[in-house]
Symmetry: C2
Subunit: 799 residues, 2 copies
């Protein structure tokens, strides 16, 4: 605890009057929070509380509200006093009643939702709408002004806060971390974000660890470990903690004075650290301030019920007094509780907060509910994207050359990074895989963000770098969510196989975007963009544990308004896909692309057109005649399946020269969906124009084959559609052995075609035998030589 000695003692900066006014504001928050849980009428308690004033269904969480309210009240004071640019991140977002109360009190709620303003009717409406069907959700959500944080699935608040302050040097994100949330993995990892935050170019996060004592039913770990261990832990994370502790019996004034002193000290220290870093440069890792706020769960609520303690126990997690309508004694207890906040001192008879209650509230955009960063779409500037054709590779003929698609993308991203050097509103995040995914060209334009020691042998590390690398997909995702929700742009480059680590975070973000689209005052924010590389077919090195293409399946279960999936088949198409997704808003875009050498199929202009269509016939690859329906459609999505389909098409052309084969490539997977099911879906007519009305379709897909059946769900298609893909058969093996193991190789595709096209008779049988023999030969060869068949390794599109 070496730093503690240097702290001045916590002397309260408050006069008695200031203290009383802060307490009034806090009581108002608590009253409004409790009112949301219980009341549907008589909002000001202007008459005796009767059963019919109470909601029929009591839903919501009380336990964390008074603690959140205390933070809210005191932030109002310091923002006003110091004119701070503050974004609040409320980790315990299920304490929405406190946050809603705050934005109602500071006026922002009524500005955004004009029927719910600061008067009796507005208060009644706030109470009534809370947790009612179609009303305000019981967690913070896009409808809540000033919020970027849903508190349903816990663990992401601190990463969101860090993401928000990146490249926002004057922003202070105050992040309340619940002690339940603090037990989650993502939150536990997030503390180490201190190692990535640049004190010069980034803003500051002030964590408030709220030791509320209990989760739903259990005590929390951090509230019960010895105080010395807790202090050591937080110092280990790079913090210098300040403690504010309230027991049920602590007089509120004592708490207010301690909280005010702690905040002042933290903010003085933050200002000093900023100044030193910006004026004198950074010498060593500073211990940044944070606050540990220990309060009773359900503080100021009912002390006990039926002889059991309620305040300061898990019993106050949700609704501390139940069956209030039915039980007159409890109704009285509720009334006593609500009146304990002395609402008559807080609101006038028309329900307006009295001026002195609002004295601490800052003005205009400084109000917590009005932070422009929380409606980040308004701060968004479209990226200065270069023309992809500048970075496109020349393609003499299809398949005549190879490039590494992600490497080519890296050249475009490098330019983008250069062109945003002053704006600083684009970041690449990656779990230590930017180079491994062949995006190393980006590092020529910006190093990796790194605040720790740098050794002579290190490369590309710098405090101001805009590539963020940490071996935590959760942190990458959390940072990027915070960054995009506050209006900036980014790309998350990951191994495909490990993207499922953040499946649930992607769900929550997609839900947030889906709801935010329905909030009229929210402007669209930049999309969350994934680049999944080192994909399932090319894990030669790492094998089975690294093979999972299921993130796409997961994403496509979410709202079609939000989710998009792209599988560019080569380098140039990847450029145009990337260009597209970086221009979009309010979407979750998943781009799957390889990093290994891949045939170039489309020249730049062809690539642009193909990506714009999202799916199309590759006439040059097929053997159909104009005006005649083909005998079979060979379709593909993904770089390896495209290669196998073209190799199969070449084999068919060689062995069955009069078979009319159509080759269809799909870049934008949602094109396969019906037009009524997804904004990118094809009409039945357009779908038929690609896939014919009745011909067999053999489809080689990058991932689990049944996904194609699920999305290409059209009348009459099912029984003529045959899909090959990854079937969970993996290993450390050669690239071609992977497709053979999963029955998605060129020889199998040829067999699939001859099995499905009628009238081939003897020629089919013979070709099938040839294909089977080649697969046999492959099996022996790969066991013996550890490499692929020479005819596969050396295969070229015949042109």
């Amino acid at each position: 605890m070496q730093d503690s000695a240097t702290h001045p003692p916590l002397v309260s900066p408050l006069t008695d009057r200031e203290c009383a006014l802060l307490d009034a504001h806090w009581r108002a928050l608590n009253y409004l929070a409790a009112g949301q849980l219980y009341l549907r009428d008589n909002p000001l308690l202007s008459e005796e509380l009767r059963p019919e004033h109470v909601k029929p269904r009591l839903l919501g969480h009380w336990g964390t509200c008074p603690g959140l309210g205390l933070v809210h009240t005191h932030l109002n004071r310091v923002i006003s006093a110091r004119d701070l640019d503050v974004l609040c991140v409320w980790g315990p977002g299920h304490g929405a009643p406190a946050v809603l109360a705050g934005s109602w009190l500071d006026g922002t709620f009524g500005e955004r939702w004009p029927d719910t303003g600061r008067d009796r009717a507005g208060m009644a409406r706030l109470f009534e709408r809370f947790s009612s069907p179609g009303g305000l959700p019981s967690h913070t959500a896009p409808v809540v002004p000033g919020s970027i944080q849903e508190g349903g699935e816990l663990g992401y608040s601190l990463a969101h806060a860090y993401g928000a302050v990146l490249d926002n040097p004057d922003l202070l994100a105050v992040c309340v971390v619940g002690d339940g949330e603090a037990e989650t993995g993502p939150l536990a990892a997030s503390w180490h974000s201190t190692a990535f935050l640049d004190p010069v170019r980034d803003g500051t996060v002030l964590p408030v660890l709220h030791l509320n004592g209990y989760k739903i039913a259990n005590p929390t770990v951090l509230s019960r470990i010895p105080e010395g261990d807790l202090d050591a832990l937080l110092r280990g994370y790079g913090h210098d903690p300040l403690y504010v502790t309230a027991a049920p019996d602590t007089p509120p004034e004592t708490v207010h004075r301690a909280m005010a002193a702690a905040l002042d000290q933290a903010l003085d220290r933050i200002a000093a650290l900023r100044r030193t870093a910006r004026e004198e440069g950074v010498a060593e890792r500073p211990h940044r301030p944070m606050i540990v706020l220990r309060t009773p769960k359900g503080w100021t609520g009912p002390r006990e019920l039926d002889g059991e303690p309620v305040e300061d126990t898990w019993r106050s997690h949700q609704i501390p007094l139940k069956d209030v309508r039915e039980n007159p004694e409890r109704l009285r207890a509720l009334e006593r509780w609500l009146r304990s906040y002395r609402p008559e001192e807080l609101f006038d008879s028309s329900g307006r907060p009295r001026p002195e209650v609002l004295e601490c509230v800052p003005r205009g955009g400084r109000r917590p509910g009005a932070s422009p960063h929380a409606d980040g779409g308004r701060l968004r500037r479209p990226l200065p994207l270069p023309d992809p054709s500048e970075f496109a590779v020349p393609v003499e003929a299809p398949g005549a050359s190879v490039h590494e698609p992600t490497r080519v993308l890296g050249t475009l991203l490098r330019r983008l990074v250069e062109d945003t050097a002053d704006r600083r509103d684009f970041r690449l995040v990656s779990p230590d895989e930017a180079e491994s995914n062949h995006l190393q060209d980006v590092l020529a334009a910006t190093p990796r963000a790194w605040q720790g020691a740098v050794l002579d042998t290190d490369r590309n590390l710098d405090r101001g770098g805009r590539v963020m690398e940490v071996l935590s997909e959760h942190l990458c995702q959390g940072w990027l969510e915070g960054y995009t929700l506050t209006g900036r742009h980014g790309l998350f480059a990951s191994y495909e196989g490990f993207s499922t680590i953040v499946a649930s975070m992607a769900t929550q973000h997609a839900k947030w975007l889906q709801n935010a689209r329905e909030v009229p005052w929210r402007a669209p924010v930049p999309s969350l963009n994934y680049l999944l590389s080192s994909h399932v077919w090319r894990q030669d090195h790492n094998g089975f544990s690294h093979q999972d293409p299921g993130f796409v399946d997961h994403i496509l279960n979410k709202s079609p308004d939000v989710v998009r999936v792209y599988l560019p088949p080569d380098a140039n198409t990847l450029l145009y896909v990337a260009d597209h997704v970086l221009r979009t808003t309010d979407e979750v875009n998943v781009v799957v692309a390889g990093k290994q050498p891949c045939f170039d199929w489309l020249a730049p202009e062809q690539a642009r057109e193909h990506c714009a269509r999202g799916a199309g016939v590759w006439e040059w690859a097929g053997s159909e005649e104009p005006g005649r329906e083909p005998d079979v459609v060979l379709a593909c999505a993904g770089d390896v399946p495209t290669q196998e389909v073209l190799a199969a098409a070449a084999l068919l052309r060689e062995h069955l020269p009069d078979l009319a084969v159509r080759v269809v490539n799909v870049v934008d997977l949602a094109r396969l969906l019906p037009s009524g099911s997804h904004p990118h879906g094809l009409s039945d007519g357009d779908f038929e124009a690609l896939f014919t009305r009745d011909r067999p379709v053999v489809f080689a897909y990058h991932g689990y084959p049944w996904l194609i059946h699920r999305i290409a769900h059209r009348a009459g298609l099912h029984d003529r559609l045959h899909v090959r893909g990854y079937r969970e058969s993996g290993s450390t093996t050669t690239p071609f052995d992977m497709v053979v193991r999963n029955d998605a190789d060129r020889y199998r595709l040829v067999m699939d075609v001859v099995d499905r096209v009628p009238g081939l008779a003897d020629r089919a049988a013979e070709l099938r035998r040839t294909m089977e023999r080649t697969r046999e030969r492959h099996h022996h060869w790969v066991r013996e030589h550890g490499t692929d068949l020479p005819e596969v390794d050396g295969w070229r599109w015949p042109g």
Copy 2:
């Protein structure tokens, strides 16, 4: 650093001879590890190294191997000296060459794989098989003796180690945590497992934090934060760290002496803590020993290449010298490197390790590769499961009563917990949701495991409790994986919506089980069993963020040999499903069941039969006549869909009394798959016997509706199958409003039926209007009253 003062100085316990022998063992490990990466011939370097001795594809990871090898060597010593029961958990499992080398040296590899024993041929085969197609994977995997840990997806080693020592009081799990892995969320959370480990009834985990310095391309956070911060962090976790540090120039003897001293001190301390706790009881949270091992990445490997440093940088992560076959200079460098271990001193001319190299190796089951806990299936005892009928609820008539299914299950689990009180081989894990999921009866038999402070107001907390609750799905899963892989049983109870948090962990575990089934010497381990409750349809309280039924979709993408999904429709069926899954081995079982009051449909014996069939016709619910095909099949899976289907059946019976309706309920979702695709799949004949040959099927499913299309993928079915389910339309709302929002309600199902059954003419139109009017009424009612329609709330099966 208060505890450090009390440490005796690290005095080496080694004689010079012992030190030399340990070094020989370590050199042998390093030689064997490097050999696996490079050699396909000339394994003993008995002749000059030529290009053809080198593998054509160089795959694998060198960087972490020497550090892992050092731990391995020294564990051999202390196990021998102290006769310890040790399980090694290798977090950096991509350092498989070191682990394989260890098990080859201790003889266990050759015992399990007799063609790869301790002689020249066996060594050559080990080298050749490593990372070759169909050979040994480049990460530790089930084929590796002594291992329960795949190191591909990082983050789970420490939780596995804690899971392994639960209820194994004499076991010591030595867990090497990589500093890359340490950045992940799950690992960061795992350190707090100290708060749950009972020093009396559980064993001990000795973490070895391996500060290898670099990940793939970046330095690691923990290797670069100030040493004081690192020490504080680890003390904060409840540890008392011992430091062993090696720089590239440190003489090996110095490192051996330091490592031996640190291990001795740690083990003395562990023995003392055990003794104190068991003889005198536990007073306060002890700081448990751990080792921080700082070594150069790629230690003892090539110092530099082309003027760039390799050892001690990220460049030694995988293959430090590439293009060895093509470049004679590099070939010489490789030979120098390999000969630096002096293989001629380590192996005799027939390739057998010299006796002195093996002097430190313990005997028999004490060898690291022979730990019985790593082949936990051999320790497994079937659970003493009670007869479910004892706990079943009486059912006078279908739908005549209601019970909370999970609550009823809790009564059975309580008995199971009582009946395993002495064996201690069953645990319930839950992210603070055991009570919330209505399993509170279990707590009458055992409290929650809790080592922290206990207050007067706390309930059901005790050091020896067998319910594990922490607000981290990752920890719950990791603990249970470690527990079941070492042969014990458990159940993971979670909110359905948050189960996706562990989607990727479930993937990795399913992959492990899939591979383990193919390893002849591994015995089957108890299955990993999930109980998902608080499901998508009943998140009245928490709303949209808590609604995600996609875990089932995710699981069903994995190997059909491993995965199973059950959706019991009521309390009694849940009992029989639970009874079944707790008897199985080598599976991942997902059981989805509600906690809210649910109609009882099946009497105990009926429930038993229905669960045994997995899917069946509920004759009592339909209106078909024997011997006549029904007009329509109403199918359902899940408790809420079952209720809606029965309500629809009742409406149809009322309004269209001559319509022949068949009701089919599906408990075991895999029954819908074809028999060739899943061991539980139905043959086409059996499928038709349920779903008819050609009648329309209206299916109400618990989750995303397309999953049913995907699994019920049979010829001719597609166009007559119509599925309703959750379509990502959620909110804080009433239970019935949830099904209406997703078009899965009884009225919609009736409309679906009348739209699909031909020949209903006017009656269909009229019924459709009635249904639409009722849905309209619902919309108004729920907005106005905040509750469901009285006719829905009061609905009962007409019987």
